[in-house]
């Protein structure tokens, strides 16, 4: 499954959104996510993608921004941590 599909599934598991609302250009503000919602959701993202999102480094506005950030963390952390790569 692609990053965006996995992300959409997380959104739907966690919140009462319709999948139609979850387009790449949809903003988190449009979805009504506040700062605490984001913190909670980052935890689910970390679990799903087996990554660590460092504090202050998840500055995202849209769902596409999230996808890009996740892909970046995944590739960076796979390179820096081969053990983690094997476990995923």
């Amino acid at each position: 499954m692609s990053t965006i599909e996995r992300l959409k599934k997380l959104f739907i598991d966690k919140f009462d959104f319709n999948v139609e609302e979850l387009k790449p250009e949809t903003t988190l503000e449009y979805l009504g996510l506040d700062s605490l919602d984001k913190i909670e959701f980052m935890f689910d993202i970390e679990n799903e993608f087996r990554i660590k999102i460092p504090d202050q480094e998840f500055k995202v506005t849209t769902i596409q921004d999230m996808v890009d950030a996740i892909d970046r963390f995944v590739s960076e952390q796979l390179l820096s941590s081969p053990n983690l790569a094997m476990s995923t």
Binding site: K14, F15, D16, L36, F43
Partner: protein, 412 residues
């Protein structure tokens, strides 16, 4: 000038019902909410009974709220929404500044703290749920109510174990009476039926043994064969309003709160002092400006521990004299269990329902009278069609805090 304070809305989440009508019918009919608990860990425990609430959070909250609210906060919000609707409250910005929330809880977010520990110490995880702090902190329930209804006046959380929510209601009453607020949401909430909490109570050796014939009858207040308390969970919230305001907007008038007594045993953490309990009762009666013989019903603390039932009986005798043998006293903990931080509020609601129904709920499971507990405990069968104008609700806590509330039927 002392202002009059009305109770204008009631809400309850309890093993005996998740709304006032069901709760009222079950308590009057002597139907117990005590049963064997559903949790998997129950087979590890020596005591497997509790008054567990049948509660599906998705009936009340969306997915996001369900994952970010501890069960204790869910109960508080669910009970408050009933009370708010019941009172038909609608406040403008100015009125909200004169409105507040006082809530009681014993353990706060007990489920969240235990979930966190299980993750860390049992599953060796290196992190806990992101909102753990907000789920665990004891003042979260009061804060959620303040946010939900936009109440910007005083917002406090009282934690005095078994007396928490009687203290919360009593102090909220005084906020309105003395002019600091016009509307208060007040009550208590508790949701602590976790493995660790059961083990802690088990270790203290105060839990009732399961009744061998019927687990729902395990809590036997004032009975010779009582063996201890049965833990329960739940919440109750009442709306308090300054009387003239309540009358003006046509709110239901369940009762007027007349008096509140608050004392400390200053003696022992678990062994009560009947003198200080009696002092709390006397102070509430004095503040109410009534005679002790005006009281038509006492909802006892009645935990069904050896000490409580004996000493509470003595405290009532000390204050009421000969009238102690005439006034009906019942412990509804025999049905809804001991809900600690919610107990005072749930039992205050029971007392107000006694006024509303003009009926006295029973002490259930009282088949073997204890010669040392010789008052009229309304054994097993409630009484309908009796005059109930003035009621008293007792709460006597571990740690020695005593809180007593007195309310009276409103005229008209």
């Amino acid at each position: 000038m002392r202002r009059r304070v009305a109770v204008t809305g009631l809400g309850v989440i309890s093993s005996c019902g998740n709304n006032i009508n069901d709760f009222s019918a079950n308590i009057m009919a002597g139907k117990s909410g005590v049963r064997r608990i559903s949790s998997e860990f129950s087979n590890l425990l020596s005591v497997k009974v509790a008054a567990e609430v049948d509660f599906n959070p998705f009936d009340y909250f969306n997915k996001k709220q369900v994952s970010s609210l501890d069960r204790v906060n869910q109960f508080a919000l669910a009970a408050a929404s009933q009370a708010w609707k019941d009172a038909k409250l609608s406040l403008d910005a100015k009125e909200k500044e004169r409105s507040g929330v006082y809530m009681g809880t014993g353990l706060g977010g007990a489920n969240a703290i235990e979930d966190g520990y299980v993750r860390l110490f049992k599953e060796n995880a290196d992190r806990v749920k992101p909102l753990s702090v907000l789920m665990i902190m004891s003042n979260a329930s009061a804060s959620y109510l303040s946010i939900e209804y936009g109440l910007t006046g005083p917002c406090l959380t009282v934690s005095t174990a078994c007396a928490s929510s009687s203290n919360a209601i009593g102090e909220a009453f005084r906020q309105i009476r003395d002019g600091y607020a016009d509307v208060m949401l007040a009550g208590g909430t508790e949701a602590f039926l976790t493995y660790g909490v059961f083990r802690s109570w088990e270790a203290l050796r105060v839990l009732a043994m399961e009744d061998p014939d019927d687990p729902s009858k395990s809590c036997k207040p004032f009975s010779k064969n009582r063996s201890g308390l049965v833990l329960g969970e739940g919440a109750a919230v009442v709306v308090l309003e300054e009387m003239e305001r309540a009358v003006r907007h046509g709110a239901p008038l369940y009762a007027e709160i007349l008096g509140y007594g608050s004392t400390s045993d200053a003696f022992h953490m678990t062994k009560p002092s009947f003198e200080r309990q009696a002092q709390a009762i006397s102070e509430a009666i004095r503040e109410a400006g009534i005679s002790s013989e005006d009281i038509d019903y006492i909802n006892a603390h009645g935990t069904a521990t050896q000490w409580n039932d004996l000493l509470e009986t003595q405290a009532i005798k000390k204050v009421f004299g000969d009238y102690a043998y005439k006034v009906p006293v019942s412990s509804t903990k025999s049905m809804h269990g001991h809900t600690i931080g919610a107990a005072g509020a749930i039992e205050f609601v029971v007392s107000l329902l006694a006024i509303k129904n003009q009926a006295i709920p029973p002490t259930t499971n009282l088949d073997q009278p204890d010669p040392e507990c010789d008052l009229d405990y309304v054994p097993n069968i409630g009484r309908k069609g009796v005059k109930v104008n003035t009621v008293m609700s007792n709460s006597f806590a571990f740690g020695g805090t005593n809180a007593v509330l007195i309310a009276r039927k409103t005229e008209g």
